[in-house]
């Protein structure tokens, strides 16, 4: 039995970085404010790395997202494994050409000659009143693209294990962090190793209803558990962990077991990742479902500033309970 350590997401990712950089001199880090004199990145998640491994491997960049991802791609083509921080997910839009047209496609367009083993870490998530351009959940944009893996862990142990896998993966990975998941503490086995990409986790077992979710929304689903229990609903929470390629097997097995499925995500509901998952469940399990799959997501507007609007924008534990009751009815 492994010793369990108490840590939050920041510490877990930092531990993964230290292990990966110790083990493999090809692992590099770059991004805005990333070196220690600038604070180790926006959340301090990279703290200590430049001091320990040197500023030739851990480089603070200008605020130039295209240059950051371009440098990561080129270094990867040159045999390195760069971990690039794009401070906030909205800023990935500035580097979209580098991510979508290049990182994700170079392997295919070169007939397998080029590989781009980069990891892009990025922070997002509403709830901090950062409004319209600092907290969008754009995982659906990236999940729509071929050639890039999209990861959004919710627990510190998963963050460590999945980060280790992203760094060693031969393809580009987008690793989504949120304020809520980074700052929530949890238990991490002292010997936590890599967790395979593309595998969901049944975070809570249940028999009446399947809730598919990820990132901070997993925590909000957990917050609904007590009320669901009081309503006599046994919910199974499937934490998807990897959005693309997603774990159809685990989701379909749970859906087949319960016959009632809800997908809850922080991204805008319309054309969101939940639509793809719901469509697949309907295609595969049409006759076995007791109710049509329910999708919960944000309304189609920019993330609002006013606290009362921001609270209404997010899928809250109460919304999950209400939707579950409707599915049971």
């Amino acid at each position: 039995m492994s010793v369990m350590l108490q840590m939050n997401g920041i510490q877990a990712i930092n531990a993964a970085m230290v292990e990966a950089m110790e083990a493999d001199p090809k692992v590099l880090v770059l991004g805005e404010d990333i070196a220690d004199p600038q604070g180790g990145g926006v959340t301090g998640t990279m703290k200590g790395l430049s001091t320990r491994f040197g500023e030739h491997r851990v480089r603070t960049t200008p605020i130039s997202e295209q240059a950051i991802i371009g440098a990561a791609i080129g270094a990867a083509l040159g045999g390195y494994k760069p971990v690039a921080e794009i401070m906030l997910m909205n800023f990935t839009t500035v580097a979209m050409d580098m991510i979508f047209n290049h990182a994700a496609k170079l392997r295919f367009m070169s007939g397998g000659q080029s590989q781009v083993p980069i990891t892009i870490r990025t922070l997002t998530g509403a709830g901090w009143q950062t409004a319209g351009q600092h907290c969008d959940h754009l995982e659906g944009w990236f999940a729509h693209a071929a050639g890039i893996k999209v990861i959004a862990a919710s627990s510190p142990a998963d963050m460590k294990g999945l980060m280790l896998s992203c760094i060693q993966d031969p393809d580009p990975c987008l690793f989504i962090e949120t304020g809520m998941t980074l700052f929530s503490p949890g238990e991490v086995p002292a010997d936590q190793g890599p967790i395979p990409l593309g595998k969901a986790k049944v975070a809570v077992s249940g028999s009446d209803i399947t809730i598919v979710t990820w990132a901070a929304q997993t925590i909000r689903c957990m917050m609904a558990l007590q009320a669901l229990g009081e309503a006599g609903i046994s919910a199974e929470i499937v934490d998807l962990r990897t959005i693309s390629p997603w774990d159809k097997e685990t989701v379909l097995a749970s859906a087949a077991k319960t016959g009632r499925v809800m997908i809850a995500h922080e991204a805008v509901r319309d054309f969101g990742p939940g639509a793809e998952i719901a469509a697949t469940i309907h295609e595969e399990l049409f006759g076995q479902l007791k109710k049509p799959v329910k999708r919960l997501g944000a309304p189609k507007c920019a993330v609002p500033f006013a606290k009362v609007l921001e609270d209404a924008y997010l899928v809250q534990p109460d919304d999950i309970v209400a939707a579950a009751k409707a599915l049971m009815g």
């Binding site: 295209q66 371009g70 080129g74 270094a75 580098m98 007939g111 000659q113």
Partner: protein
């Protein structure tokens, strides 16, 4: 336009090497256009005709392990660098023996073995990636240099400015080579670009920048010599604006309606290829017979490559599931 009279000058061997690379580019370009006219190849094609001196002179200074990132108008850059012609022809024919198994085509030709690292169809995007290859070269402790090729239009896109700033800060061994052919797609240089010379933009990024006659092997030779030496010495990047002219428009099939006819005819009258040939003979570096033999050998190589491409099989549909990720996608 080289400033110093004591600038290094190409000797006979260098001139012959530059000429050989130019002939390979021009003969290959001619063969591609002929094959397209005959309907044997269907592809978007952006000819580099008229711009041969630039990559031919640069490649003269490059080693096999030096690398280039180029753009959709880039086959001349790759041929100069030494990409093998057989897989090049198979690729532009959409065949399985192509450099990219027929999955990239002329706009994404890639051949890391000869240093052709990235070919992009996005204006400006060769530069940020070249920086990363330069960073890798530096981390490796190697003397490798990386060339980022781009056009005059690309100097107006954000990626150019971000990339030059970073390359200068990090002293990366990168040559930023702008092939200024006077047009960005159909738009004349002065309508799209706020400065008379793109090389002046280097000042903003604290790196040397030169405007070079890109059709003159002597001027190119002196400037590339200096820029490559600077990069190999770890002193950082250089911006070379190489002035040239695009003989065949933006995309093959383009009728040049936006060009001044007289200007184009004047430029074509100064075609650098016959000029260099005449010079090699006038200066006694080669005989007519020597050069005819050189051209005939290259034509034979191209004919063989073309046949190889034509005879290669088309890719299987399974290729749609391969090379998306390292592991094959499920059927």
């Amino acid at each position: 336009m080289a400033e110093q009279s004591n600038a290094p000058k190409p000797d006979a061997q260098a001139l012959l090497d530059i000429f050989r690379r130019m002939v390979r580019i021009e003969r290959n370009d001619d063969a591609i256009r002929t094959a397209m006219r005959r309907g044997r190849i269907t592809a978007p094609y952006y000819s580099g005709r008229g711009q041969e001196v630039i990559p031919a002179t640069i490649s003269h200074f490059l080693n096999d392990d030096d690398q280039i990132c180029t753009i959709y108008r880039g086959i001349h850059d790759m041929v100069a660098k030494g990409i093998p012609l057989r897989p090049l022809w198979a690729e532009i024919s959409g065949k399985v023996d192509g450099t990219c198994k027929g999955k990239g085509g002329p706009m994404h030709l890639t051949h890391p073995e000869t240093g052709v690292m990235v070919t992009t169809g996005i204006v400006g995007s060769s530069m940020p990636i070249a920086n990363g290859l330069g960073w890798a070269a530096k981390l490796d402790g190697s003397k490798r240099v990386v060339v980022a090729y781009f056009g005059d239009g690309a100097s107006n896109i954000g990626a150019f400015h971000e990339a030059l700033n970073l390359a200068s800060l990090w002293k990366l061994p990168v040559l930023f080579v702008c092939q200024n052919n006077g047009f960005g797609e159909h738009t004349r240089y002065e309508i799209a670009t706020s400065v008379d010379k793109i090389s002046t933009r280097a000042v903003s990024y604290n790196m040397p920048g030169f405007t070079v006659n890109g059709n003159d092997p002597d001027d190119m030779y002196a400037h590339v010599h200096a820029a490559v030496a600077r990069a190999r010495a770890g002193e950082g990047p250089t911006l070379l604006e190489c002035k040239t002219f695009r003989f065949l428009g933006h995309l093959i099939g383009d009728d040049d309606f936006y060009m001044d006819k007289a200007e184009k005819e004047a430029a074509m009258a100064k075609d650098p290829l016959p000029r260099l040939r005449a010079r090699l003979i006038a200066e006694g570096h080669a005989s007519e017979a020597d050069l005819d033999k050189l051209i005939a050998d290259i034509e034979a190589e191209i004919a063989d490559a073309q046949e190889y491409g034509a005879n290669s099989p088309t890719p299987s549909r399974d290729e749609l599931r391969r090379d998306v990720f390292a592991e094959e996608m499920p059927a």
